[in-house]
């Protein structure tokens, strides 16, 4: 991969938020022009302000903007883009989108549409893994409600419902009580339909307390495929990853070799091209089961980048332009340890309800070995229409304990005032003795944080709050912030 020649002259980034910002910066580094797309509520979002050019797709509704294949392809052609990077989520794993790009003469930065379709169909992906000699979790392919319910009884509860299309935990439900099977299935179908426009649901036996371990693979158009080690993403809430790390504290050299070899077998069997992730569940005995392939860049890709010393977005763009993987990629050594925390606009005290709102004050942590991938800016109103991820904080250190301590320090230094965030929750997770010991499972949060309460201020902090409140309030910086007397002053009267 030569650093002197841009892989493309112009790339359209079909996404928003932190991942759009990340990809736009990578384009800049490679001297490719970056075209952002946005919906009406995102017109002054960071990804729009950062790009060389930007196109408004339409209203906030994802179907009218970030999920609208026709408008995005049209924008790419009109702007003269050569390639389209889909980021993650939205259309990243939609084979029709990859196909439409190709038909329009655009390079889709990802695998071919046929590969996305084959691996995105989780039932076909399971069969492909089995044929490649990789074990899978027992289950049942998508079917009507009655068939799935009978299959659930046959497999034995608990069972797991999963969307046949797409990822990101959408539509996932663990059903422990046979009585609640139909309600869970209905709800999963509705959620999946609104996210992916396809309500096919498949069934799997639910393994108790496995670890989620995944392997990063990268393949070029000339038949070379490499792995870049594993990540552990066991700390999940409702099947949404919250904290990820590389390498896994539970994977030694022998298991790593077998996992990575299995991942490469699946990638080769699928004719995989570009960056992808092969996900596994690993049980207490170190047995592993193929879960699925994510045919895109992962949210948690930075932990691999920091430990493997590669830039996956650069590699994606180079491979998409037809360049071969450099020989050095086959000999990547993992160095040190990286841990990532996803920062969400959500209220951990109220069932992690999304908490949109205006960012009133923002200060990002600046520490050695710390990387912040952020999609927000001060003054921005976080829209209600999209995923509540605000940013990711990644800490690298020579060893795991130092990386965990460094990430905690970075989260303590992170100031986000306005929307409620999960920052304090993340800190409590990072400081939990089992997390510190690397004792993880996909049940970690349910086991240790079934409920959580925001920290109570010590007296001195409350005194600062009272002193600030007792002052005349600073003028509201923007018209939307209501101007009124901040506190209910009670003129000296003591209240009961």
């Amino acid at each position: 991969m030569k650093a002197d020649r841009p892989p493309f002259a112009k790339v359209l980034i079909a996404n928003r938020g932190e991942i759009a910002v990340r990809v736009i910066r990578a384009c800049r580094e490679l001297r490719a022009r970056a075209v952002a797309v946005y919906s009406e509520v995102d017109s002054d979002s960071p990804h729009v302000l950062l790009a060389d050019e930007a196109v408004c797709l339409g209203p906030a509704d994802p179907a009218e903007s970030y999920l609208n294949v026709g408008r995005i392809v049209d924008a790419a052609r009109r702007m003269g883009a050569e390639a389209v990077h889909p980021g993650y989520g939205f259309l990243a794993e939609n084979p029709e989108f990859a196909h439409a790009c190709r038909e329009a003469g655009l390079v889709f930065v990802g695998p071919p549409a046929e590969v996305i379709a084959a691996l995105g169909d989780k039932d076909r992906a399971r069969k492909l893994a089995q044929e490649a000699g990789v074990p899978t979790v027992p289950g049942h392919p998508p079917a009507d409600d009655e068939t799935l319910e009978r299959a659930a009884h046959r497999l034995g509860f608990p069972v797991l419902l999963k969307a046949a299309a797409g990822g990101g935990g959408k539509g996932m439900r663990v059903v422990r009580d046979p009585q609640q099977f139909r309600e869970a299935l209905d709800s999963a179908r509705r959620e999946v339909r609104s996210s992916f426009g396809d309500d096919a649901i498949l069934l799997e036996k639910y393994l108790e307390r496995p670890r989620h371990v995944e392997v990063q693979v990268l393949a070029d158009t000339r038949g070379s495929a490499v792995h870049l080690g594993e990540r552990e993403c066991s700390v999940q809430r409702r099947h949404q990853k919250v904290i990820e790390e590389c390498p896994s504290p539970a994977v030694g050299p022998d298991l790593r070799a077998r996992l990575c070899e299995a991942a490469l077998r699946i990638a080769r069997a699928a004719g995989y091209v570009n960056a992808g992730t092969v996900e596994f569940l690993v049980d207490r005995q170190g047995r592993f089961y193929f879960l699925e392939v994510n045919t895109r860049l992962q949210v948690e890709h930075p932990v691999t980048e920091m430990v493997a010393g590669v830039d996956l977005v650069h590699a994606q763009l180079r491979v998409a332009a037809g360049e071969p993987l450099p020989p050095s990629f086959a000999e990547v050594t993992l160095r040190g340890h990286a841990v990532e925390a996803r920062v969400y606009a959500e209220d951990p005290e109220r069932g992690f309800a999304p908490s949109p709102g205006r960012v009133l004050c923002l200060r990002e942590p600046q520490l050695p070995g710390v990387r912040v991938d952020s999609g927000i800016r001060s003054g921005q109103r976080i829209p209600v229409q999209y995923d509540p991820i605000l940013s990711k904080v990644v800490a690298w250190a020579p060893d795991r304990p130092t990386a965990v301590a460094r990430l905690a320090q970075a989260l303590r230094d992170y100031v986000i005032l306005g929307p409620r965030t999960n920052l304090d929750f993340l800190l409590d997770v990072l400081e939990h003795p089992d997390f510190v010991a690397g004792e993880l499972s996909t049940q970690f949060l349910d086991d240790h944080f079934p409920t959580w309460h925001a920290p109570q201020p010590e007296e001195a902090v409350a005194a600062v709050a009272a002193a600030l409140a007792g002052r005349s309030r600073p003028r509201a910086p923007e018209a939307e912030v209501r101007v009124s007397d901040p506190w209910d002053r009670l003129g000296g009267a003591r209240l009961p």
């Binding site: 100031v415 109570q456 201020p457 007296e459 600062v464 007792g470 901040p486 506190w487 000296g492």
Partner: protein, 161 residues
């Protein structure tokens, strides 16, 4: 002097605040805490509390003070507003702004504790709002497809006598 009643993380603080110089003398639980404040701009303040110097960040939103201090984020709201929210919570209010996708009950219907009342969708997540107690549906105040604010009362319950 003013008396402020602030609620944060479920704790009520009653503070007597006497402005003094660059800060205030704050009396909390009978203890006097001298606080000095220096505005550093962009929401940053230097706070000197009992002689210790901290960098804190503060922002106001309506009547709520958002405060980042000593690595943690706090919201201090006047106790009056907090009391209103608690009353609303008993009415199964929307936990967040979003779109009511389905109403699962009708007026007059008896519901058990934990029974699903309506479904709210926000940020691509479905939330089923359940009844906090047994009761009877008095009124349904939103239609399916309607966008509601966080805290909006969607289903009103009356106690089962």
């Amino acid at each position: 002097m003013s008396v402020l009643r602030l609620r944060c993380a479920g704790v009520l603080f009653e503070a007597h605040v006497v402005p003094s110089g660059r800060g205030a003398l704050v009396r909390l639980e009978g203890r006097e805490v001298p606080v000095e404040l220096r505005d550093l701009g962009d929401g940053a303040w230097e706070a000197t509390v009992d002689g210790a110097r901290w960098l804190v960040h503060a922002a106001w939103e309506g009547e709520t003070l958002h405060l980042h201090a000593r690595g943690r984020t706090y919201r201090f709201a006047p106790a009056r507003a907090a009391a209103h929210r608690l009353a609303a919570a008993a009415d199964t209010s929307a936990p967040m702004p979003g779109v009511v996708t389905r109403i699962l009950v009708t007026p007059g219907q008896r519901v058990a504790e934990g029974e699903a009342l309506y479904v709210l969708e926000a940020m691509k997540m479905e939330t089923v709002v359940r009844s906090p107690r047994p009761g009877r549906v008095r009124r349904v105040r939103a239609r399916a497809g309607e966008q509601v604010e966080g805290g909006a009362v969607v289903v009103e319950l009356e106690e089962e006598g």
